[in-house]
Protein backbone atom coordinates (compact mmCIF):
# COMPACT_ATOMS: atom_id res chain seq x y z
CA UNK A 1 0.00 0.00 0.00
CA UNK A 2 2.53 2.59 -1.02
CA UNK A 3 0.18 4.94 -2.77
CA UNK A 4 -1.01 7.13 0.07
CA UNK A 5 -2.10 10.00 -2.16
CA UNK A 6 -4.20 7.92 -4.51
CA UNK A 7 -5.57 5.86 -1.64
CA UNK A 8 -6.69 8.93 0.15
CA UNK A 9 -8.24 10.38 -3.00
CA UNK A 10 -10.09 7.13 -3.65
CA UNK A 11 -11.47 7.05 -0.14
CA UNK A 12 -12.53 10.63 -0.51
CA UNK A 13 -14.30 9.77 -3.77
CA UNK A 14 -16.18 7.05 -1.97
CA UNK A 15 -17.31 9.51 0.66
CA UNK A 16 -18.34 11.98 -2.00
CA UNK A 17 -20.38 9.35 -3.81
CA UNK A 18 -22.24 8.60 -0.63
CA UNK A 19 -22.80 12.29 -0.12
CA UNK A 20 -24.28 12.68 -3.61
CA UNK A 21 -26.87 10.03 -2.85
CA UNK A 22 -27.80 11.83 0.34
CA UNK A 23 -28.10 15.01 -1.68
CA UNK A 24 -30.38 13.14 -4.07
CA UNK A 25 -32.49 12.10 -1.13
CA UNK A 26 -33.02 15.64 0.02
CA UNK A 27 -33.04 17.66 -3.17
CA UNK A 28 -36.18 19.30 -4.48
CA UNK A 29 -35.30 20.47 -7.94
CA UNK A 30 -35.30 17.86 -10.65
CA UNK A 31 -32.85 19.88 -12.68
CA UNK A 32 -30.32 19.83 -9.86
CA UNK A 33 -30.84 16.14 -9.45
CA UNK A 34 -29.57 15.46 -12.93
CA UNK A 35 -26.52 17.54 -12.14
CA UNK A 36 -25.93 15.42 -9.08
CA UNK A 37 -26.20 12.37 -11.28
CA UNK A 38 -23.55 13.83 -13.57
CA UNK A 39 -21.31 14.41 -10.59
CA UNK A 40 -21.75 10.75 -9.69
CA UNK A 41 -20.58 9.84 -13.17
CA UNK A 42 -17.49 11.98 -12.73
CA UNK A 43 -16.78 10.38 -9.36
CA UNK A 44 -17.09 6.93 -10.88
CA UNK A 45 -14.79 7.82 -13.74
CA UNK A 46 -12.19 9.25 -11.40
CA UNK A 47 -12.49 6.21 -9.18
CA UNK A 48 -11.93 3.84 -12.08
CA UNK A 49 -8.93 5.86 -13.25
CA UNK A 50 -7.27 5.98 -9.85
CA UNK A 51 -7.92 2.34 -9.03
CA UNK A 52 -6.69 1.43 -12.49
CA UNK A 53 -3.56 3.51 -12.05
CA UNK A 54 -2.62 1.88 -8.79
CA UNK A 55 -3.56 -1.67 -9.58
CA UNK A 56 -2.30 -1.62 -13.15
CA UNK A 57 -5.53 -3.19 -14.39
CA UNK A 58 -5.70 -1.65 -17.81
CA UNK A 59 -9.26 -2.50 -18.64
CA UNK A 60 -10.32 -0.14 -15.88
CA UNK A 61 -9.19 2.74 -18.06
CA UNK A 62 -11.44 1.48 -20.79
CA UNK A 63 -14.21 1.20 -18.25
CA UNK A 64 -13.50 4.74 -17.08
CA UNK A 65 -13.69 5.97 -20.64
CA UNK A 66 -17.04 4.32 -21.22
CA UNK A 67 -18.36 5.58 -17.94
CA UNK A 68 -17.31 9.07 -18.89
CA UNK A 69 -18.99 8.87 -22.26
CA UNK A 70 -22.16 7.20 -21.05
CA UNK A 71 -22.75 8.72 -17.65
CA UNK A 72 -21.18 12.13 -17.88
CA UNK A 73 -22.03 12.99 -21.46
CA UNK A 74 -24.68 10.87 -23.12
CA UNK A 75 -27.16 10.17 -20.33
CA UNK A 76 -27.16 13.67 -18.81
CA UNK A 77 -27.56 15.22 -22.26
CA UNK A 78 -30.43 12.88 -22.97
CA UNK A 79 -32.06 13.66 -19.66
CA UNK A 80 -31.56 17.40 -19.97
CA UNK A 81 -33.10 17.34 -23.42
CA UNK A 82 -35.95 15.30 -22.15
CA UNK A 83 -36.62 17.75 -19.37
CA UNK A 84 -36.39 20.57 -21.81
CA UNK A 85 -38.86 19.03 -24.21
CA UNK A 86 -41.23 18.08 -21.44
CA UNK A 87 -40.94 21.59 -20.02
CA UNK A 88 -39.96 20.31 -16.62
CA UNK A 89 -37.06 22.66 -16.17
CA UNK A 90 -38.17 24.38 -13.06
CA UNK A 91 -40.12 21.49 -11.69
CA UNK A 92 -40.07 21.06 -8.00
CA UNK A 93 -40.99 17.95 -6.18
CA UNK A 94 -42.45 17.74 -2.76
CA UNK A 95 -40.16 15.64 -0.65
CA UNK A 96 -41.76 14.37 2.47
CA UNK A 97 -39.97 14.44 5.74
CA UNK A 98 -36.37 14.87 4.76
CA UNK A 99 -34.92 14.41 8.26
CA UNK A 100 -36.65 11.07 8.69
CA UNK A 101 -35.38 9.90 5.31
CA UNK A 102 -31.90 11.04 6.31
CA UNK A 103 -31.96 9.10 9.55
CA UNK A 104 -33.16 6.03 7.67
CA UNK A 105 -30.35 6.63 5.22
CA UNK A 106 -27.77 6.71 7.98
CA UNK A 107 -29.10 3.48 9.41
CA UNK A 108 -28.84 1.98 5.94
CA UNK A 109 -25.19 3.04 5.73
CA UNK A 110 -24.47 1.37 9.05
CA UNK A 111 -26.30 -1.76 7.98
CA UNK A 112 -24.60 -1.93 4.59
CA UNK A 113 -21.19 -1.39 6.09
CA UNK A 114 -21.61 -4.12 8.64
CA UNK A 115 -22.83 -6.40 5.86
CA UNK A 116 -19.80 -5.57 3.79
CA UNK A 117 -17.30 -5.77 6.63
CA UNK A 118 -16.46 -9.46 6.15
CA UNK A 119 -16.05 -8.86 2.43
CA UNK A 120 -13.67 -6.04 3.13
CA UNK A 121 -11.54 -8.42 5.13
CA UNK A 122 -11.38 -10.92 2.32
CA UNK A 123 -10.90 -8.59 -0.61
CA UNK A 124 -7.47 -8.10 -2.07
CA UNK A 125 -8.11 -4.89 -3.99
CA UNK A 126 -6.42 -1.69 -2.90
CA UNK A 127 -9.74 0.10 -2.45
CA UNK A 128 -11.54 -2.67 -0.64
CA UNK A 129 -12.78 -0.43 2.14
CA UNK A 130 -15.19 1.09 -0.32
CA UNK A 131 -17.28 -2.04 -0.83
CA UNK A 132 -19.46 -0.94 2.05
CA UNK A 133 -19.90 2.46 0.48
CA UNK A 134 -20.86 0.83 -2.80
CA UNK A 135 -23.51 -1.28 -1.13
CA UNK A 136 -24.72 1.75 0.81
CA UNK A 137 -25.09 3.65 -2.44
CA UNK A 138 -27.13 0.81 -3.89
CA UNK A 139 -29.47 0.63 -0.93
CA UNK A 140 -29.75 4.41 -0.55
CA UNK A 141 -30.69 4.76 -4.21
CA UNK A 142 -33.37 2.24 -3.51
CA UNK A 143 -34.58 4.62 -0.82
CA UNK A 144 -34.54 7.45 -3.36
CA UNK A 145 -36.84 5.46 -5.61
CA UNK A 146 -39.13 4.64 -2.72
CA UNK A 147 -39.39 8.19 -1.47
CA UNK A 148 -40.07 9.79 -4.86
CA UNK A 149 -43.29 10.14 -6.71
CA UNK A 150 -42.19 11.54 -10.02
CA UNK A 151 -41.26 9.28 -12.87
CA UNK A 152 -38.10 11.12 -13.75
CA UNK A 153 -36.73 11.14 -10.23
CA UNK A 154 -37.42 7.45 -9.92
CA UNK A 155 -35.39 6.91 -13.03
CA UNK A 156 -32.57 8.96 -11.58
CA UNK A 157 -32.75 6.78 -8.49
CA UNK A 158 -32.48 3.72 -10.68
CA UNK A 159 -29.50 5.15 -12.53
CA UNK A 160 -27.83 6.03 -9.28
CA UNK A 161 -28.47 2.47 -8.14
CA UNK A 162 -26.62 1.29 -11.20
CA UNK A 163 -23.78 3.66 -10.35
CA UNK A 164 -23.55 2.09 -6.93
CA UNK A 165 -23.27 -1.34 -8.52
CA UNK A 166 -20.50 -0.21 -10.82
CA UNK A 167 -18.70 1.38 -7.92
CA UNK A 168 -18.93 -1.81 -5.88
CA UNK A 169 -17.70 -3.86 -8.80
CA UNK A 170 -14.69 -1.63 -9.38
CA UNK A 171 -13.65 -1.64 -5.77
CA UNK A 172 -14.40 -5.24 -4.88
CA UNK A 173 -12.99 -7.00 -7.92
CA UNK A 174 -11.50 -4.34 -10.22
CA UNK A 175 -14.63 -4.43 -12.29
CA UNK A 176 -16.59 -7.26 -13.79
CA UNK A 177 -15.47 -9.10 -16.91
CA UNK A 178 -15.71 -6.82 -19.91
CA UNK A 179 -18.49 -8.75 -21.60
CA UNK A 180 -20.72 -8.20 -18.60
CA UNK A 181 -19.86 -4.53 -18.39
CA UNK A 182 -20.78 -4.05 -22.03
CA UNK A 183 -24.06 -5.81 -21.56
CA UNK A 184 -24.87 -3.68 -18.56
CA UNK A 185 -23.96 -0.46 -20.36
CA UNK A 186 -26.15 -1.44 -23.29
CA UNK A 187 -29.05 -2.24 -21.02
CA UNK A 188 -28.73 1.05 -19.20
CA UNK A 189 -28.70 2.98 -22.44
CA UNK A 190 -31.67 1.15 -23.92
CA UNK A 191 -33.46 1.42 -20.62
CA UNK A 192 -33.02 5.16 -20.48
CA UNK A 193 -34.22 5.56 -24.04
CA UNK A 194 -37.21 3.50 -23.12
CA UNK A 195 -37.83 5.75 -20.11
CA UNK A 196 -37.78 8.70 -22.46
CA UNK A 197 -40.46 7.16 -24.62
CA UNK A 198 -42.41 6.32 -21.53
CA UNK A 199 -42.29 9.84 -20.22
CA UNK A 200 -43.97 11.15 -23.31
CA UNK A 201 -46.62 8.49 -23.20
CA UNK A 202 -47.26 8.94 -19.53
CA UNK A 203 -47.44 12.66 -20.02
CA UNK A 204 -49.94 12.27 -22.82
CA UNK A 205 -52.12 10.06 -20.70
CA UNK A 206 -51.87 11.79 -17.35
CA UNK A 207 -50.92 15.36 -18.14
CA UNK A 208 -48.12 15.14 -15.67
CA UNK A 209 -45.38 12.83 -14.55
CA UNK A 210 -46.70 12.33 -11.10
CA UNK A 211 -47.10 8.74 -10.12
CA UNK A 212 -49.02 9.41 -6.94
CA UNK A 213 -51.97 7.44 -8.10
CA UNK A 214 -49.81 4.50 -8.92
CA UNK A 215 -49.45 3.94 -5.24
CA UNK A 216 -52.90 2.65 -4.64
CA UNK A 217 -53.63 -0.50 -6.47
CA UNK A 218 -56.24 0.54 -8.93
CA UNK A 219 -57.22 -3.01 -9.37
CA UNK A 220 -60.73 -4.12 -8.37
Amino acid sequence: MNHPVEQSVIQLLGGLLLLTVFVMLSIRRIFTMIRVFTVQGIILTANAVFVGAISGEEHLFLLAFFTLVLKVVVLPVLLFRLIHRLRLRGDVEVVVNVPLTMVTGILIVVFASSLAAPLTMMASTISRGLIGFGLSTVLLSFLVILSRRKAITQVLGLLSLENGLLFSAINATYGMPMIVEFGVALDVLVGTLLFGVFFFQIRESFENLDLERLEKTWED
Partner: protein, 317 residues
Protein backbone atom coordinates in the same frame (compact mmCIF):
# COMPACT_ATOMS: atom_id res chain seq x y z
CA UNK B 1 7.84 30.15 27.18
CA UNK B 2 8.10 27.77 30.04
CA UNK B 3 7.46 27.69 33.72
CA UNK B 4 4.71 29.29 35.76
CA UNK B 5 5.46 32.90 34.91
CA UNK B 6 5.77 32.13 31.24
CA UNK B 7 2.53 30.26 31.33
CA UNK B 8 0.66 33.15 32.88
CA UNK B 9 2.28 35.53 30.45
CA UNK B 10 1.38 33.26 27.57
CA UNK B 11 -2.23 33.05 28.66
CA UNK B 12 -2.41 36.79 29.03
CA UNK B 13 -0.91 37.24 25.62
CA UNK B 14 -3.45 34.84 24.14
CA UNK B 15 -6.39 36.65 25.70
CA UNK B 16 -5.20 39.97 24.38
CA UNK B 17 -4.55 38.48 20.99
CA UNK B 18 -8.01 36.98 20.75
CA UNK B 19 -9.63 40.12 22.10
CA UNK B 20 -7.99 42.18 19.38
CA UNK B 21 -8.30 39.73 16.57
CA UNK B 22 -12.03 39.16 17.15
CA UNK B 23 -13.32 42.59 16.14
CA UNK B 24 -10.60 42.80 13.50
CA UNK B 25 -11.90 39.62 11.90
CA UNK B 26 -15.46 40.94 11.85
CA UNK B 27 -14.15 44.15 10.31
CA UNK B 28 -12.25 42.21 7.70
CA UNK B 29 -15.29 40.07 6.79
CA UNK B 30 -17.47 43.14 6.50
CA UNK B 31 -14.84 44.87 4.41
CA UNK B 32 -14.64 41.97 1.95
CA UNK B 33 -18.41 41.73 1.80
CA UNK B 34 -18.59 45.40 1.02
CA UNK B 35 -16.07 45.07 -1.78
CA UNK B 36 -17.81 42.02 -3.18
CA UNK B 37 -21.18 43.72 -3.26
CA UNK B 38 -19.74 46.82 -4.95
CA UNK B 39 -20.23 49.05 -1.99
CA UNK B 40 -17.70 51.37 -0.50
CA UNK B 41 -16.53 49.09 2.29
CA UNK B 42 -16.31 50.25 5.89
CA UNK B 43 -12.84 50.44 7.32
CA UNK B 44 -11.43 47.22 8.70
CA UNK B 45 -11.13 48.79 12.16
CA UNK B 46 -14.72 49.98 12.14
CA UNK B 47 -15.76 47.44 14.81
CA UNK B 48 -13.17 48.94 17.18
CA UNK B 49 -14.63 52.39 16.63
CA UNK B 50 -18.10 51.04 17.32
CA UNK B 51 -16.96 49.33 20.50
CA UNK B 52 -15.10 52.39 21.66
CA UNK B 53 -18.12 54.56 21.09
CA UNK B 54 -20.46 52.17 22.84
CA UNK B 55 -18.22 51.94 25.90
CA UNK B 56 -18.45 55.68 26.40
CA UNK B 57 -22.18 55.82 26.00
CA UNK B 58 -24.71 55.66 28.76
CA UNK B 59 -26.05 52.21 29.61
CA UNK B 60 -29.80 52.03 29.91
CA UNK B 61 -31.56 49.16 31.57
CA UNK B 62 -35.15 48.73 30.42
CA UNK B 63 -37.62 48.86 33.26
CA UNK B 64 -39.02 45.55 34.42
CA UNK B 65 -35.91 43.57 33.71
CA UNK B 66 -34.26 41.50 36.40
CA UNK B 67 -30.63 41.37 37.46
CA UNK B 68 -30.14 38.68 34.87
CA UNK B 69 -30.35 41.27 32.13
CA UNK B 70 -27.41 43.17 33.51
CA UNK B 71 -25.46 40.07 34.34
CA UNK B 72 -25.70 38.41 30.92
CA UNK B 73 -23.18 40.55 29.01
CA UNK B 74 -20.50 39.87 31.60
CA UNK B 75 -21.21 36.16 31.60
CA UNK B 76 -21.16 36.01 27.82
CA UNK B 77 -17.98 37.98 27.51
CA UNK B 78 -16.10 36.16 30.23
CA UNK B 79 -17.25 32.79 28.87
CA UNK B 80 -15.67 33.75 25.60
CA UNK B 81 -12.47 34.91 27.24
CA UNK B 82 -12.16 31.68 29.19
CA UNK B 83 -12.95 29.71 26.06
CA UNK B 84 -10.14 31.45 24.26
CA UNK B 85 -7.70 29.87 26.67
CA UNK B 86 -8.87 26.38 25.72
CA UNK B 87 -8.03 26.63 22.05
CA UNK B 88 -4.55 26.33 20.60
CA UNK B 89 -3.84 29.56 18.78
CA UNK B 90 -0.23 29.70 17.76
CA UNK B 91 1.23 26.60 19.29
CA UNK B 92 -0.17 23.19 20.07
CA UNK B 93 1.83 23.11 23.30
CA UNK B 94 1.37 26.41 25.00
CA UNK B 95 4.08 26.59 27.59
CA UNK B 96 3.35 23.47 29.57
CA UNK B 97 -0.26 24.52 29.96
CA UNK B 98 -2.48 21.66 28.86
CA UNK B 99 -5.00 22.87 26.37
CA UNK B 100 -8.61 22.63 27.33
CA UNK B 101 -11.08 19.91 26.78
CA UNK B 102 -13.27 20.39 23.71
CA UNK B 103 -16.34 19.25 25.60
CA UNK B 104 -15.80 22.01 28.12
CA UNK B 105 -15.57 24.39 25.23
CA UNK B 106 -18.97 23.31 23.95
CA UNK B 107 -20.28 23.75 27.48
CA UNK B 108 -18.92 27.29 27.69
CA UNK B 109 -20.53 28.25 24.41
CA UNK B 110 -23.78 26.73 25.59
CA UNK B 111 -23.54 28.73 28.83
CA UNK B 112 -23.14 31.95 26.89
CA UNK B 113 -26.03 31.07 24.65
CA UNK B 114 -28.35 30.24 27.52
CA UNK B 115 -27.61 33.53 29.27
CA UNK B 116 -28.08 35.47 26.06
CA UNK B 117 -31.40 33.84 25.35
CA UNK B 118 -32.60 34.18 28.95
CA UNK B 119 -31.69 37.84 29.02
CA UNK B 120 -33.50 38.38 25.74
CA UNK B 121 -36.61 36.76 27.16
CA UNK B 122 -36.17 38.74 30.33
CA UNK B 123 -36.93 41.94 28.51
CA UNK B 124 -40.44 40.70 27.90
CA UNK B 125 -40.59 42.17 24.40
CA UNK B 126 -41.94 40.00 21.59
CA UNK B 127 -38.75 40.30 19.59
CA UNK B 128 -36.56 39.33 22.48
CA UNK B 129 -38.58 36.22 23.18
CA UNK B 130 -38.67 35.30 19.51
CA UNK B 131 -34.93 35.76 19.10
CA UNK B 132 -34.20 33.77 22.23
CA UNK B 133 -36.37 30.90 21.14
CA UNK B 134 -34.88 30.77 17.69
CA UNK B 135 -31.37 30.92 19.06
CA UNK B 136 -32.13 28.00 21.32
CA UNK B 137 -33.58 26.07 18.40
CA UNK B 138 -30.46 26.54 16.29
CA UNK B 139 -28.28 25.67 19.23
CA UNK B 140 -30.33 22.61 19.99
CA UNK B 141 -29.83 21.40 16.45
CA UNK B 142 -26.19 22.39 16.16
CA UNK B 143 -24.90 20.97 19.39
CA UNK B 144 -25.31 17.27 18.57
CA UNK B 145 -23.52 17.88 15.31
CA UNK B 146 -20.72 19.70 17.12
CA UNK B 147 -20.32 16.87 19.56
CA UNK B 148 -20.20 14.38 16.70
CA UNK B 149 -17.49 16.34 14.96
CA UNK B 150 -15.55 16.36 18.20
CA UNK B 151 -16.01 12.61 18.50
CA UNK B 152 -14.68 12.17 15.00
CA UNK B 153 -11.55 14.09 15.84
CA UNK B 154 -11.38 12.13 19.06
CA UNK B 155 -11.26 8.92 17.05
CA UNK B 156 -8.14 10.22 15.33
CA UNK B 157 -6.30 11.45 18.38
CA UNK B 158 -7.91 9.48 21.18
CA UNK B 159 -8.23 12.66 23.15
CA UNK B 160 -10.75 15.41 23.48
CA UNK B 161 -8.04 17.84 24.50
CA UNK B 162 -7.87 20.38 21.74
CA UNK B 163 -4.10 20.68 21.86
CA UNK B 164 -3.55 16.94 21.54
CA UNK B 165 -5.91 16.58 18.61
CA UNK B 166 -4.34 19.51 16.90
CA UNK B 167 -0.90 18.07 17.39
CA UNK B 168 -1.94 14.65 16.07
CA UNK B 169 -3.41 16.12 12.93
CA UNK B 170 -0.42 18.38 12.46
CA UNK B 171 2.00 15.52 12.86
CA UNK B 172 -0.04 13.28 10.57
CA UNK B 173 0.09 13.30 6.83
CA UNK B 174 -1.19 16.31 4.93
CA UNK B 175 -3.53 14.03 3.00
CA UNK B 176 -7.15 14.56 3.87
CA UNK B 177 -9.00 11.54 5.17
CA UNK B 178 -12.71 11.29 4.41
CA UNK B 179 -13.66 11.56 8.06
CA UNK B 180 -11.75 14.81 8.47
CA UNK B 181 -13.14 16.24 5.24
CA UNK B 182 -16.70 15.44 6.26
CA UNK B 183 -16.01 16.68 9.73
CA UNK B 184 -14.68 19.94 8.36
CA UNK B 185 -17.68 20.42 6.11
CA UNK B 186 -20.04 19.74 8.98
CA UNK B 187 -18.05 22.08 11.16
CA UNK B 188 -18.34 24.83 8.61
CA UNK B 189 -22.12 24.54 8.59
CA UNK B 190 -22.17 24.52 12.37
CA UNK B 191 -20.01 27.62 12.39
CA UNK B 192 -22.49 29.42 10.19
CA UNK B 193 -25.40 28.37 12.35
CA UNK B 194 -23.81 29.06 15.71
CA UNK B 195 -22.56 32.49 14.74
CA UNK B 196 -25.78 33.65 13.11
CA UNK B 197 -24.26 34.06 9.70
CA UNK B 198 -26.01 33.83 6.36
CA UNK B 199 -27.87 31.54 5.44
CA UNK B 200 -29.19 31.09 8.98
CA UNK B 201 -29.32 34.71 10.01
CA UNK B 202 -28.12 37.95 8.54
CA UNK B 203 -25.84 39.78 10.98
CA UNK B 204 -26.08 42.98 8.97
CA UNK B 205 -29.79 43.66 9.20
CA UNK B 206 -32.51 44.16 11.74
CA UNK B 207 -35.22 42.72 9.59
CA UNK B 208 -37.93 41.95 12.10
CA UNK B 209 -39.23 38.63 10.97
CA UNK B 210 -36.02 36.88 10.19
CA UNK B 211 -33.49 38.06 12.70
CA UNK B 212 -32.19 35.82 15.41
CA UNK B 213 -29.07 37.24 16.95
CA UNK B 214 -29.95 40.89 16.61
CA UNK B 215 -33.39 40.30 18.07
CA UNK B 216 -31.79 39.30 21.33
CA UNK B 217 -29.67 42.43 21.56
CA UNK B 218 -32.37 44.95 20.74
CA UNK B 219 -32.75 46.23 24.29
CA UNK B 220 -29.06 46.47 25.06
CA UNK B 221 -27.16 49.72 24.96
CA UNK B 222 -23.88 51.24 25.95
CA UNK B 223 -21.32 49.11 27.75
CA UNK B 224 -23.58 46.08 27.87
CA UNK B 225 -24.12 46.12 24.12
CA UNK B 226 -20.39 46.59 23.58
CA UNK B 227 -19.62 43.54 25.69
CA UNK B 228 -22.21 41.49 23.82
CA UNK B 229 -20.91 42.52 20.42
CA UNK B 230 -17.33 42.02 21.45
CA UNK B 231 -18.19 38.60 22.85
CA UNK B 232 -19.93 37.64 19.62
CA UNK B 233 -16.98 38.69 17.51
CA UNK B 234 -14.66 36.66 19.75
CA UNK B 235 -17.01 33.73 19.40
CA UNK B 236 -16.76 33.83 15.62
CA UNK B 237 -12.99 34.04 15.90
CA UNK B 238 -12.88 31.15 18.32
CA UNK B 239 -14.94 28.96 16.02
CA UNK B 240 -12.56 29.75 13.20
CA UNK B 241 -9.55 29.11 15.42
CA UNK B 242 -10.92 25.79 16.58
CA UNK B 243 -11.64 24.81 13.00
CA UNK B 244 -8.14 25.79 11.98
CA UNK B 245 -6.53 23.91 14.81
CA UNK B 246 -8.53 20.75 14.06
CA UNK B 247 -8.62 20.69 10.31
CA UNK B 248 -5.78 22.95 9.17
CA UNK B 249 -3.18 22.95 11.93
CA UNK B 250 -0.24 22.92 9.55
CA UNK B 251 1.93 25.93 10.20
CA UNK B 252 1.33 25.89 13.91
CA UNK B 253 4.32 25.61 16.12
CA UNK B 254 4.71 22.23 17.71
CA UNK B 255 7.45 23.09 20.22
CA UNK B 256 8.01 25.91 22.68
CA UNK B 257 10.14 28.77 21.44
CA UNK B 258 9.77 32.35 20.30
CA UNK B 259 10.84 31.87 16.71
CA UNK B 260 8.37 29.08 16.14
CA UNK B 261 5.61 31.09 17.72
CA UNK B 262 6.33 34.11 15.56
CA UNK B 263 6.27 32.02 12.42
CA UNK B 264 3.04 30.38 13.54
CA UNK B 265 1.55 33.77 14.25
CA UNK B 266 2.26 34.87 10.70
CA UNK B 267 0.73 31.65 9.38
CA UNK B 268 -2.30 32.17 11.59
CA UNK B 269 -2.74 35.68 10.28
CA UNK B 270 -2.63 34.41 6.74
CA UNK B 271 -5.15 31.65 7.45
CA UNK B 272 -7.54 34.05 9.15
CA UNK B 273 -7.36 36.48 6.24
CA UNK B 274 -8.17 33.68 3.82
CA UNK B 275 -10.87 32.18 6.06
CA UNK B 276 -12.52 35.55 6.59
CA UNK B 277 -12.51 36.28 2.89
CA UNK B 278 -13.92 32.84 2.15
CA UNK B 279 -16.65 33.36 4.70
CA UNK B 280 -17.50 36.72 3.17
CA UNK B 281 -17.57 35.23 -0.30
CA UNK B 282 -19.83 32.43 0.83
CA UNK B 283 -22.18 34.86 2.53
CA UNK B 284 -22.33 37.03 -0.55
CA UNK B 285 -23.19 34.09 -2.75
CA UNK B 286 -25.80 32.54 -0.50
CA UNK B 287 -29.29 33.75 0.20
CA UNK B 288 -30.78 33.56 3.62
CA UNK B 289 -32.87 30.51 4.28
CA UNK B 290 -36.42 30.72 5.47
CA UNK B 291 -36.55 29.98 9.15
CA UNK B 292 -38.50 26.79 8.48
CA UNK B 293 -35.64 25.47 6.43
CA UNK B 294 -33.12 26.02 9.20
CA UNK B 295 -33.72 22.60 10.75
CA UNK B 296 -32.96 21.02 7.39
CA UNK B 297 -29.76 22.97 7.15
CA UNK B 298 -28.66 21.83 10.55
CA UNK B 299 -29.75 18.27 9.72
CA UNK B 300 -27.34 18.45 6.82
CA UNK B 301 -24.59 19.43 9.24
CA UNK B 302 -25.54 16.53 11.47
CA UNK B 303 -25.59 14.18 8.50
CA UNK B 304 -22.14 15.26 7.39
CA UNK B 305 -20.85 14.82 10.90
CA UNK B 306 -22.30 11.33 11.06
CA UNK B 307 -20.87 10.44 7.69
CA UNK B 308 -17.47 11.57 8.87
CA UNK B 309 -17.89 9.58 12.05
CA UNK B 310 -18.95 6.46 10.14
CA UNK B 311 -16.37 6.69 7.43
CA UNK B 312 -13.71 6.56 10.08
CA UNK B 313 -14.98 3.12 11.04
CA UNK B 314 -15.66 1.95 7.53
CA UNK B 315 -12.59 3.22 5.76
CA UNK B 316 -9.87 3.99 8.21
CA UNK B 317 -9.58 0.99 10.44
Amino acid sequence: MSGGAGSVLGSFFQIVLVGVLGPLLVGWVNWVRGVLSNRKPPSVIQPFRDLFKLFRKETIRPSGTSALFGLAPYVVFSAMVVASLLIPVVSTVSGGRAMGDAIVLVGLFALARVFMALAAMDTGTPFGGMGGRREMMVGFLAEPATILVLFTTYLLSHSTMTGVTSEVVREGSVLPTPSLVFGALAYFLILLGENSRIPIDNPATHLELTMIHEAMLLEYSGRNLALMEWGSSIKLLLYLLLGISFFLPWGMSGSPGWQGDLLALAALGGKLVVAGAALALFETLMAKLRIFRVPEFMTLAFLLAILGFLSHFILEV
